[in-house]
Symmetry: C2
Amino acid sequence: MHSPKRILFLDLVLSIFRLNGLLIAEGDALTEKLGLTHARWKVIGAIALSNAGLTVPGVARVLGQSRQAVQRITDVMVVDGLLAYQRNPKHKRSVLITLTEEGNHVYNMLREQQDPWVMENTQEIPIEELDQTLRLIRRLINKFDK
Amino acid sequence: MHSPKRILFLDLVLSIFRLNGLLIAEGDALTEKLGLTHARWKVIGAIALSNAGLTVPGVARVLGQSRQAVQRITDVMVVDGLLAYQRNPKHKRSVLITLTEEGNHVYNMLREQQDPWVMENTQEIPIEELDQTLRLIRRLINKFDK
DNA sequence: AGTACAATGACAACATGCTGACATAGTGAA
DNA sequence: TTCACTATGTCAGCATGTTGTCATTGTACT
């Protein structure tokens, strides 16, 4: 049972855990000057990328997290003036999340940090390898996301 | 600046976050009957795989976590009778962690759950793809782990 | 329309990760 | 040997994730 594939897969699982931790640390370092954290980085990114406007459960679905976890983050970000809740014509209670002017400004500054970071960490990696890896990761996500 | 590579990389980062969350859920489901959690699964695995015996900071280094986080888990596992602290001939205060008889039993049962799980989730995936992916993940880990 | 089921907000309990701080133990160089 | 630096255990505070529960709102089917 100690097939190479088994070892390889368990190794991959542990490496995902490891990389996840390192990416969180990178995210925190990257956003520290902006008064953000990795969790807020994920949320502000999801909202900035949405055209139609997202609700709290909508962000949770995009990020694959519980709506409660997202709600806690967005509540704080609204208090901090980065996000605002807007009336949702489609739902009496479930409001839409939008970026405030300050939120937009922070997101733009975030981009200025993020873009060189991405460049730095991908320039030596062929695009085909990134693509293959992303495809396998997605395949595993689909397998587990039921 | 919206190069395909940039999009691809950010997509990969988000997918790592996503897969990490799903793997934690899988780990929790897999170990629930054994009274474990994903965090204890990682720790018990690290200790079972070590031949020479590990200290708390040793496990932390293997897993790439803070020693404080590992200490908290092992303290509980010692109380629960899965682990035991043993005198370390090389250090007066930093004890070695060993599996108790019960800990060994739980680890074996864990393997009985884990092996079919690994089989089920890898049988359709060529070993070369797993290998390529692991290599890229490792490459990123090395990049961020300074 | 009415009614069952799903989605949402709100609150709580808990697990797990991080960092910081402090005292003690170990190590290596002068 | 002595002294500076590193490693370790311990305690605390905090951020973030999970699940569970309950009341309310939306949706879809009869």
